[in-house]
């Protein structure tokens, strides 16, 4: 059963990495939603038929149903945290791009206004 556990851990990591590597794609989004639904289903089943989690645990080579539940929760939590991290850094990158554009535009605008001001000043002097 050790082999199965190793395979499960590797499988989790591969799925996690794939999810996080292209967070925007429709495919990944769909799989994330399916995973959430599956998690819900798993939670409901584990409440209604506690013995089912033991059977599932036995099937994948985990000691007991409550352990399996703990593992699934832990993996979901880590996936959630990493997902949030990636989302946050994406949002932050957008803020950076926008702020930079704005900053450079403002600077160039001010320089232009100052140049204009400088060229117009002698005219004003002659008018007066």
């Amino acid at each position: 059963m050790i082999l199965l556990q190793v395979l499960l851990v590797i499988g989790f990591l591969v799925v996690l990495f794939w999810f996080l590597s292209k967070p925007g794609s429709a495919q990944v989004k769909a799989w994330k939603r399916l995973a959430i639904i599956a998690l819900f289903a798993f939670a409901i089943v584990s409440v209604l038929i506690p013995s089912a989690t033991d059977a599932a645990a036995d099937f994948v080579g985990v000691y007991s149903g409550s352990n399996l539940l703990l593992y699934v929760t832990a993996v979901s939590f880590i996936a959630f945290v990493l997902n949030q991290y990636v989302h946050n850094s994406d949002a932050h990158e957008r803020v950076i791009v926008l702020t930079r554009r704005l900053a450079i535009l403002e600077a160039k605008n001010r320089e232009l206004a100052e140049q204009l001001d400088a060229t117009q000043r002698p005219d004003r002097a002659t008018d007066a």
Partner: protein
Amino acid sequence: MNEDTYVVIPVYNEERVVGDVVRSVRRHFANVVCVDDGSRDRSGEASRAAGAKLVTHAVNLGAGAATQTGIDYALLDAAAQYFVTIDADGQHDAGDAVRLLDRLRSDELDIVIGSRFLGDARDMSRAKATLLRAAASFSAKTTGVKLTDPHVGLRAFNRRFAENLKLTMPDFSHASELVQRIRQGGYRYAECPITVTYSDYSKAKGQPMINAVNIGFDYLMHRTFKK
């Protein structure tokens, strides 16, 4: 007076010293760009009063983002051939910036990076020196670019390097990103000894050493999930 060079200074809450820094840099360089990274004090006004061109971030984004903004701004000038970055807190010497640039011009390099360890780091705490050396050897191992001091703020590079730099890591982790670019682009690089003076002011303002954890974490996450 180095008309073809832009000096980029990322500024965050440096009202007290940035004016002097700009004035000392302007003795050697005509074009100085200060990027006020959403300071809460009057750093922007102080920079402009000292003769720098000013670009202002509406919100604080970090030293890496500010550096990149300054480079983007400078690149808009087609006459800009060389770029120098220098810290705003007065720890670097403008004369060193000139030496870096001279080396860049004479040796046909793409980038010259200052090194506190080849030169003279005055009043650097032993703990900080140890941490920086560890970071340097980590950086050399992971990127293959051998630098004694990759996390220094004083550097000079040419237009080709500036155009391809595109720093995306907003914080101090951008130094690691810059080293990564050197490797990716196969740029010709060299180190040049510089003198760094840690005043009580810059010590009090400098990043706490625990920030190394943030830099390392961000760098690894970035490498894992972005490229």
